[in-house]
C-alpha cells in the first residue's frame, strides 16, 4: 500500500517537474528580451528541477541515492541565483536596454492589474 502511494506521488511529481520545465523553456523562447528570459529560466532551475528530483527521491527510498539527489538540488539552489545575477549585471554593463511594454498596451495592463489588486 505504501509502495503504491509512493509510486503515485513520484509520478505526479515527475510529470509536474516536466510540465514546469517545458513551460520555463517555452518562456525562454517566447519572451522579448534577456531580462524577461531570466525569469523563465529561473522556473526551470527551481520548480522544474525540484519536482523532477523529488519524484526520483520517492523512487529511491532511504538510501545514499536520496542523499545525492538532495545534494544536486542544493547545488542548483545555491548556484542558480548567482549565475542569474551575474548574467543580469553583465547584460546591464554590456549595454542591453531592458524591454518595456509599448505605451498603449502598458496603460491597459496597468488598469488590469489595478482591478486585480483592489
Amino acid at each position: 500500500m505504501i509502495d503504491l502511494i509512493l509510486e503515485v506521488l513520484s509520478w505526479i511529481s515527475i510529470i509536474g517537474g516536466i510540465f514546469f520545465m517545458m513551460v520555463g523553456t517555452i518562456g525562454i523562447v517566447r519572451m522579448p528580451d534577456v531580462y524577461t528570459r531570466l525569469h523563465a529560466a529561473g522556473m526551470t532551475d527551481t520548480m522544474g528541477a525540484g519536482l523532477l528530483l523529488l519524484g526520483m527521491c520517492f523512487q529511491a527510498g532511504l538510501t545514499l541515492v536520496l542523499v545525492r539527489l538532495v545534494l544536486i538540488y542544493a547545488f542548483l539552489l545555491f548556484t542558480s541565483p548567482i549565475s542569474t545575477h551575474a548574467l543580469a549585471s553583465a547584460a546591464l554593463s554590456g549595454g542591453v536596454e531592458p524591454y518595456t511594454v509599448p505605451a498603449d498596451r502598458s496603460g491597459k495592463l496597468n488598469s488590469l492589474n489595478g482591478e486585480q489588486n483592489s
Binding site: F20, V23, G24, I26, G27, R30, M31, P32, D33, Y35, T36, L38, H39, A40, G42, M43, T46, M47, L64, V67, R68, L71, L77, S80, P81, I82, T84, H85, A88, S89, L92, P98, Y99, T100, V101, S106, L109, N110, L112, N113, Q116, N117
Partner: protein, 162 residues
Amino acid sequence: MLRAFGLGAILFIFWLLLSGHYTPMLIGFGLGSCGLIVYLAMRMDVVDHEGVPLQLGGRFWMYFPWLMKEIFIANVNVARVILNPRLPISPVVTHFKASQKSDLGKTIYANSITLTPGTITTNIQGQDLEIHALTLKDIDGREEDEMDHRVSWVESGSRGNS
C-alpha cells in the same frame, strides 16, 4: 578555530555520504583530504563568518520551508503569465530598501528575491537593491516585506551569538 573544526566536520560528513565505501584505508584517505582542504581554506583566508556561516544555525532551516512555499506560488504565477496567449508582461526596474546589517544578510535577501521567479536582483549598493520584475503584480511589496523581516530574523541569530 571553531569554524575550522566545523568546516572539517561538515566536509567529512559530506565525504562519508558521497563515498559509500567504509574500509579503514579509504576513511583515512577521506580524513586526509578533508584536512588538506581545511588547511588550504585557512591559507586562502575564507574560514570566517561569511565563508563558514555556522552562526546562522537552525534559523536558516526554519526560514527555508517558507522560502520554498513562496517559490512555489511565484512559479505558478509566472507559469500562468507564460502560458497566456497574450503574454501579459510589464517589465519594470524598481528599488527596494534592505534592512539587513551585514553583507551576508543582504546576500541571503538578494538571492531569495532572485530565486523567486518574477523578480531578479540586478544590483546592490549599500542598502539599496535594484530589482527587475516581470509584471507589476510581482512587486506589490507584500511578499518582499515579509521576506525582508524573515531574513533579518535569520541574520539576527548571528549578532546574538558572536
